[in-house]
């Protein structure tokens, strides 16, 4: 079953990338799938509409649940990160306030690898942020604010 749902998520990602104007080959490279599979997906020949429904439900979960589900479905963290980035419908702005002490807990917590430590302060890349707020939960000084935009 997880494999079916993984295909469902890949199908939805492929459709999104297609809408963004990517070619079949580019989509195949991005999702690490055969070009022919992508062509099947985009021509409506997918595994099952049920799995796509489940995938849609997963995407609509709260950002953290979506991320956790994706992590559980895909073996490679790199792949779940890609799927979450392509499929998520919501965008966020991550702000690190000056009260940051540079402990690096958020860097470890961020599954999307959106946070880097520079000159004793965390710097968050809002483009990569999936809104899970795992970082702000970890932050000992409550310095990270995640806003939906």
């Amino acid at each position: 079953m997880p494999k079916h749902i993984a295909s469902g998520l890949k199908y939805l990602a492929a459709v999104k990338l297609k809408d963004a104007g990517k070619s079949h080959q580019e989509i195949a490279d991005e999702l690490d799938v055969d070009r022919s599979t992508i062509s099947h997906y985009l021509n409506g020949r997918n595994l099952s509409w049920n799995s796509i429904d489940v995938a849609r439900t997963i995407i609509d979960l709260t950002p953290r649940d979506f991320l956790r589900m994706a992590e559980a479905i895909f073996d490679e963290p790199e792949q779940s990160r890609k799927i979450v980035n392509i499929c998520r419908e919501r965008n966020f702005e991550a702000i690190v306030e000056d009260s940051c002490i540079g402990c690096g807990l958020c860097v470890n917590a961020c599954t999307m690898k959106a946070i880097k430590l520079e000159s004793l302060k965390a710097h968050a890349d809002s483009i990569q942020c999936c809104g899970c707020q795992l970082c702000s939960d970890e932050c000992p000084t409550n310095s990270i604010k995640i806003l939906e935009i």
Binding site: S99, I101, C103, G104, L105, V107, N108, S119, L120, P140
Partner: protein
């Protein structure tokens, strides 16, 4: 993410976090001053300072330094870790390590101490002994309150300082051994075994004092001292000089300035991390000695007794040798000590919170 805290012997501790990077915080109890800067700066309040000082009048009343001044009656000198840490609260941010004026708390990131990472603040403090000026007198080694200085002295050969001529007339010598017994430099060896008699003089050891010549019952020893005979004679200054090495252990040095103070030349130089002053209120001081006990710089002392029966009424402070760590002020049960930190000299830093923490060290 793996976290673990292990108790290490001698009251030290060690916390590790392994994830993207490996962070490790270690505490070295014998280096700790008990200043409490770590406790007051820890952003998650994970550190408690327990540094202890003992009332030297009674020997068993103990003053715990820190915000609560508790006195406890205990029979023996307490073996208490100067600083304890709540591992569940510690986030390994390294603020305690960055602000520790000595190397008692050390945070390493992937094995590199933060004192070697540019982004972290460093105190501009140093201590050094200039080998060109040093005469290896060892005054600093004796004065150093933390035994951080090791002076290795290489002495010139005695033969390069005193020269002369000495010889034994084998015809006259009766191998009695009087010269060997008298020789202050242990330069003469006489073998008295019948049939195999011999006398050997080690010219490297001989100082040409002529004691042997004067004592010899048969006048067999012929010797002259060049210094006595010819007056001042030229020595090879390179050979006659005292050489050596001086080493300051950077882990133990607290920049107290004793070495600079006692140095007869200008070889020892110390720059302290904090500028400031120390004062003792003689009205309040009860001369309990808790401050003398806790001070790692020997900057506090009982005055020399002014005779039998005189009572020591208060402790005196050497302002020049105080590092402004405030361990004494924390330990004093009578609030008699005022330590002021007027300036903290550190490298520039970008982070606002770290800057605030460094500013908070100042009074």
């Amino acid at each position: 993410m793996i976290r673990n805290l292990k108790e290490v012997k001698d009251n030290n501790f060690d916390i590790t976090r392994s994830a993207e990077e490996v962070r490790n915080l270690s505490f070295n109890d014998h280096v700790c001053l008990g200043c409490g800067i770590c406790e007051s700066t820890c952003p998650v309040e994970a550190i408690t300072i327990n540094a202890v000082a003992i009332d030297s009048r009674v020997g068993f009343e103990t003053y715990f330094s820190g915000h609560d001044k508790i006195s406890q009656n205990i029979k023996e000198a307490p073996d208490i870790q100067r600083v304890s840490i709540d591992e569940s609260k510690c986030v390994l941010c390294g603020m305690c390590s960055g602000l520790c004026p000595v190397d008692a708390l050390v945070l390493t990131i992937d094995g590199t101490p933060i004192k070697e990472i540019e982004a972290y603040p460093h105190y501009n403090a140093f201590s050094e002994i200039d080998d060109d000026e040093c005469i290896y007198c060892k005054r600093c080694e004796v004065a150093c309150p933390r035994d951080a200085i090791v002076i290795e002295r290489i002495l010139p050969d005695r033969a390069d300082l005193v020269t002369g001529e000495i010889s034994v007339d084998d015809e006259e010598c009766i191998y009695c051994g009087v010269c060997q017994e008298l020789c202050p430099a242990e330069a003469i060896v006489v073998d008295q075994v019948t049939g195999e008699e011999s006398i050997v003089i080690d010219k490297d050891k001989c100082v040409y004092c002529l004691v042997c010549k004067k004592a010899c019952p048969t006048n067999a020893i012929k010797a002259i001292c060049r210094a006595c005979n010819y007056g001042e004679y030229d020595l090879d200054p390179a050979k006659a000089a005292v050489k050596g090495n001086s080493v300051i252990d950077p882990e133990l040095c607290v920049y107290c300035g004793w070495c600079e103070g006692v140095c007869p030349t200008d070889a020892a130089k110390v720059k302290k991390p904090f500028e400031g002053s120390i004062e003792i209120d003689d009205e309040k001081c009860q001369a309990c000695g808790a401050c003398v006990d806790i001070c790692q710089c020997n900057a506090l002392a009982f005055p020399v007794s002014s005779g039998p029966g005189s009572r020591m009424e208060h402790v005196i402070a050497y302002n020049d040798y105080c590092v402004r760590c405030k361990a004494c002020a924390n330990a004093c049960p009578n609030d008699a000590i005022t330590v002021k930190r007027t300036a903290v000299d550190h490298t520039p830093i970008n982070s606002t919170t770290w800057k605030e923490a460094l500013d908070a060290i100042k009074d």
